[in-house]
């Protein structure tokens, strides 16, 4: 039995199961509720809280169940003129691209030999970018296969927007790669636990690459088609855009993919720019601030603290993304393009040049 657990393949499978069923799906499901609750708080409402089992409502947590059940029990519906094959497979692209992201990101530091990361490939960042572009297919196929004009408009907008913003996503990351000098996620993570000024200020991505962070954050929002970049689905213009004809479980897949990718992107932002699971001055052996003496901590506690830290960072990023959605109006489509190519692109290149110069000089 124990030999089985040490076997790396078995370990990976266990990690995948753990990740999908205990991290990804619950957090995404919770986030659907949280978005509704948080937006309610922002807008001086109460938010959903009626679904109950017996007398218990638990702040509306049963709404997740109720919504899921409603979607699952809906009629499996194909509108007339649909390309059934593409219509069916389209939601899976987005879902796939959202879920795969989790394979590459560590959630806390290794405990002994056991890493809390499914794979640590040496082209980690490239793989992330590659998986992300998969979701474009989902949007385009969904919009096109429904044979709906609004869907078509949404698909065209989605493809143009996502393909362009993929460019800026890459550009914004180049500076980061120069700073940490690696494509491997674990290297970048380790690089963020180094300190300037004799252990005072951590070298987090947001401090080494502030402009890169801004561009990356913007591009991530656009990549997820989240407000203010939700022109592809802007409900007051093109109703629901590319998934206008979807209902039932296929709609649920789109919906869930959106929230899974929200969690995933929040994790990605935390990993690349917010110091991943590192808490400032919490080293592998314990706390050490500047030249003060080290406060020793057992390894399991350090790992646990880092897990909590990472969770907090992800939660903060989710909150940030959601708050931005509820505070800003939607961009017009051509403004999205202008923002990208006229502002983010030159800024990204400038950032890259400055980064290279600084790295070469110092």
């Amino acid at each position: 039995m124990l030999e089985l657990l040490i076997n790396p393949y078995i370990q990976t499978i266990l990690k995948v199961i753990f990740l999908i069923f205990l991290v990804v799906l619950p957090s995404a499901a919770l986030l659907t509720l949280m978005e509704r609750k948080w937006s309610a708080l922002i807008q001086d409402r109460r938010g959903p809280g009626r679904a109950n089992i017996g007398k218990f409502t638990f702040l509306g947590i049963f709404h997740i169940l109720a919504d899921g059940m409603k979607l699952a029990l809906k009629e499996d519906f194909y509108p007339a003129g649909t390309n059934r094959f593409l219509f069916t497979i389209a939601p899976y692209f987005g879902f796939f691209s959202a879920v795969t992201l989790f394979a590459l990101l560590p959630i806390t530091s290794p405990l002994g030999n056991f890493t809390f990361q499914i794979v640590d490939v040496n082209i980690g960042i490239l793989m992330i970018l590659a998986y992300m572009s998969f979701s474009i297919y989902g949007a385009v196929l969904a919009g096109w296969s429904t044979d709906n004009k609004y869907g078509m408009l949404g698909a065209v907008r989605a493809s143009a927007q996502m393909i362009s913003y993929e460019v800026f996503l890459g550009v914004s990351l180049l500076g980061l790669l120069v700073v940490y000098n690696s494509l491997r996620i674990s290297d970048i993570v380790a690089g963020q636990n180094e300190y300037w000024f004799n252990g005072l200020i951590p070298k987090w991505g947001i401090l080494t690459q502030p402009i890169g962070f801004l561009i990356f954050f913007t591009a991530i929002l656009a990549e997820m088609k989240r407000a203010p970049f939700d022109a592809p689905e802007g409900e007051s213009e093109i109703v629901a855009g590319f998934f206008i004809e979807y209902s039932g479980m296929r709609f649920a897949l789109f919906f869930l993919a959106e929230y899974i990718s929200l969690v995933g992107m929040a994790m990605l932002i935390s990993t690349l720019f917010l110091g991943s699971y590192h808490f400032p001055w919490l080293l592998d052996a314990g706390f050490k601030l500047g030249s003060l003496p080290l406060v020793e901590l057992p390894q399991w506690l350090v790992v646990f603290l880092r897990f909590i830290t990472f969770g907090g960072k992800v939660l903060f990023c989710c909150w940030l993304i959601i708050s931005i959605r509820w505070s800003l109006p939607r961009f017009k489509f051509d403004q999205i393009m202008k923002l990208g190519w006229n502002r983010l692109m030159p800024l990204g290149i400038l950032n890259l040049i400055i980064t290279i110069l600084v790295t070469l000089l110092f």
Partner: protein, 193 residues
């Protein structure tokens, strides 16, 4: 006439996206934390459990009022039926059999509350203060259309939570002897004919 030209200038900060984002975040998170931590600004009312106090003048469901002795005040003068813009009041008059001090009374007094637009003109038109809209019944919701046809006795038998009448669920007195100052305990008799 004083004219004021609006300022279209958005200022220096208005030229950039970032200040807008930060301003938005600031305002939004003020509400977020004030509501999350102190529940300060939430305005939602948990409706069926908690009810908003409604105005004194609120025009709710109608009711027919009674004299002190329990007799119906309405004298079937048809003014309310006449003025009703929705034509939703239907009255049939008959000779008052019990109380000899009045001549007529409504043997049928129906209000189709589905047609009613709650304009309150009937209340204004009534010369006898016989119809009022102060029941504070705001929501009328039934699954059956017929239930919206309020007959005379339904309009008299005000809802139990009605604070404005002392005659809750007391039938009309059927003779002048029964019409006591407090007519509680009168035997029920179907008066709708």
């Amino acid at each position: 006439m004083k004219v004021k030209v609006v300022t279209r200038d958005v200022g220096f900060l208005g030229k950039f996206y970032l200040p807008a984002v930060l301003m938005g975040l600031w305002l939004v998170s003020r509400h977020f934390f004030a509501n999350l931590l102190f529940n300060k600004m939430t305005v939602t009312i948990n409706y069926p459990e908690v009810k908003r106090p409604i105005a004194k003048r609120w025009r709710g469901r109608h009711r027919l009022t009674r004299h002190e002795n329990g007799f119906i005040k309405c004298v079937a003068c048809f003014l309310c039926e006449e003025i009703c813009p929705a034509n939703c009041i239907h009255i049939k008059s008959a000779e008052m059999p019990f109380d000899k001090s009045v001549e007529k009374y409504p043997s049928v007094f129906d209000i189709d509350e589905l047609r009613c637009i709650f304009c309150g003109l009937c209340v204004e038109a009534c010369p006898k203060d016989a119809i009022r809209m102060d029941t504070e019944i705001v929501s009328l919701a039934f699954t059956d259309r017929k239930k919206f046809d309020y007959t005379r006795n339904l309009l008299l038998d005000e809802a139990p939570d009605n604070k404005h009448t002392k005659y809750t669920n007391v039938p009309l007195p059927t003779s002048i002897e029964e019409a006591l100052p407090n007519s509680k305990g009168v035997v029920a008799d179907d008066l709708t004919n």
